[in-house]
């Protein structure tokens, strides 16, 4: 199975935590222990929504030392492709789901002297597990959490209670904005920066850190973007001779899976590189939405990350 071994879990608890945010607690369906993970890890949750199979990645937010359950938070998004709405409206306590083993593409760098976490909105979730892990280990960290309004700031009070002065909250509705430049100007040597939140915030903070002379090696970001929609196109698989249609709101990977093809994937967010697929030819323009391929590889038009990237054009021929 391409996404790695799967785990069957049962929903043990569903709790509203903020506007449009619900926390889900999963336990192993067989009642056993779940694999341990490290702070920053995510799982891919599979959902059978009618005739479609949706798979979304969610950061694990509970303690990495707790093997009795996993917790994720789901923000219901208006322009949802169905996953967050499915979890908000179509599942109940006691239902079973199939999830992937935890995968960590956003780990803490243990060589750091200090860890600086910057969260925007629902981007808080990986940091809850990372803070718990570092707190247990006695490592030095700060969590800076920006939110639109108090009722959007999931877990703000919980984090402040657990980690005290290490947590700093910024609520734009109250006129407090994240002082990015001041924060970056005065950090001790050996500090690593981690950002998770909306794409524009990630770009802003990482760009500010580069401008402040931070080396690339100290910058970490987690982007869980949904596959962007686009024009429909046709994908032809050169080796197997199959042709499939990719719908406007469907990713290339999802279309492959719907056709019964066990295509490789891991993060489903354009970050890990697992779904890299060779292109034989294409009639149209490639729309690369990933954060994995280098500019040279993009220009070469010989590879595509099927989880988030697509074609603006007629037909894409893949080496599959």
């Amino acid at each position: 199975m391409s996404g790695g071994a799967e785990l069957r879990v049962k929903i043990a608890e569903i709790e509203p935590v903020a506007t449009d945010v619900r926390r889900f607690r999963f336990v192993a369906a067989d009642g056993g222990a779940l694999p341990l993970f490290s702070g920053g890890a995510h799982v891919v949750v599979g959902m059978e929504a009618g005739d479609r199979r949706i798979r979304n990645a969610y950061s694990l937010m509970g303690s990495p030392f707790d093997e009795s359950s996993y917790q994720v938070s789901v923000l219901k998004t208006r322009d949802s492709r169905g996953g967050s709405v499915f979890l908000h409206e179509r599942v109940a306590v006691g239902d079973t789901l199939v999830i992937s083993h935890p995968v960590n593409l956003f780990p803490v760098d243990r060589r750091a002297r200090k860890h600086l976490f910057i969260a925007g909105g629902i981007g808080i979730t990986p940091f809850l597990a990372m803070a718990e892990q570092l707190s247990e280990e006695g490592a030095r960290f700060e969590l800076h959490y920006a939110m639109r309004a108090r009722d959007c700031g999931a877990y703000a009070e919980e984090a402040a209670r657990l980690y005290g002065g290490r947590v700093h909250l910024y609520c734009s509705a109250e006129g407090r904005r994240l002082p990015v430049d001041a924060l970056l100007a005065n950090q001790p040597l050996g500090t690593h920066l981690y950002v998770c939140g909306p794409e524009r915030m990630i770009e802003g903070v990482i760009g500010a850190a580069r401008d402040a002379g931070w080396p690339e090696e100290n910058l970490h970001a987690e982007r869980f973007q949904a596959p962007p929609a686009g024009e429909p196109f046709r994908a032809r698989l050169a080796r197997s001779g199959i042709s499939i249609d990719v719908g406007p709101h469907q990713s290339l990977l999802e279309a492959l899976e719907a056709a019964g093809i066990d295509a490789p994937y891991l993060c489903r967010g354009g970050a890990c590189g697992q779904c890299e697929t060779a292109i034989v030819s294409c009639d149209g323009t490639l729309v690369h939405n990933d954060h994995y391929l280098t500019p040279e590889e993009r220009a070469g038009a010989a590879k595509i990350m099927t989880c988030v990237s697509r074609l603006a054009g007629r037909e894409l021929v893949l080496d599959l």
Binding site: R111, Q187, L189, G213, W214, P215, E217
Partner: protein, 201 residues
């Protein structure tokens, strides 16, 4: 007997200015001063005011570069008599440094390794330290038997300065130790020691 293409063998791509650094912190030894002078020539008008240099004429072939470095008008130039004193002072500087400080180092290989080792102890990724190899090819070698370090090794075979074994100097490198690996060459047949060749001059 040396093994070619070993992945642990460090690369020293040369000093390139990081224009966004708030502070250029440079540790140089011997002929490494020439790399600092080249960096200063490539740097903008604000280079001197943003730059602190720790320099030791050092163990290799340092030849009167102190005057040229002084003429750069740097924010600070600290000249030390030996590599260990330089590393001690750099250690103190790094302990209170902030992000935005870019560490550069130039000199003989054993010196570069020790500066990178020190930087890593302060949480700097070795890949973000800019390095340039200047001067002698002499190596810092750890005897894998007694663990003693022999400095400025120019030959393979070399006698270990601590336990006296005849060591073959390999290309295997340890960033943690900032040293190449030296292994006893006549363990199988004691006394059968090949002639030493001067290959790291």
């Amino acid at each position: 007997m040396l093994v070619a293409g070993i992945k642990s063998r460090p690369q020293y791509p040369g000093l390139v200015l990081d224009p966004k650094a708030r502070l250029h912190l440079i540790a140089a030894e011997g002929e490494g001063a020439l790399a600092v002078l080249a960096l200063a020539a490539a740097g903008g008008p604000d280079f001197p005011a943003k730059t602190v240099v720790y320099y030791t004429p050092g163990g290799s072939a340092g030849a009167g570069h102190v005057g040229s470095l002084e003429a750069l008008g740097l924010d600070a130039l600290h000249v030390t008599p030996t590599v260990p004193t330089l590393l001690t002072r750099l250690d103190v500087h790094l302990a209170t440094a902030t992000m935005g400080t870019r560490l550069y180092t130039a000199g003989a290989e054993g010196f570069l390794g020790q500066v990178v080792q020190l930087g890593e102890r302060h949480g700097i990724d070795h890949l973000s330290i800019r390095t340039e190899h200047c001067g002698s090819l002499a190596r810092r070698v750890q005897c894998v038997h007694c663990k003693g370090i022999t400095e400025n090794v120019t030959t393979s075979i070399v006698p270990c300065a601590h336990c006296g074994l005849s060591l073959l100097v390999r290309d295997h490198y340890s960033r943690r130790l900032a040293a190449f690996m030296g292994v006893c060459v006549d363990a199988e047949a004691p006394g059968e020691v090949p002639a030493a060749e001067e290959i790291f001059r």
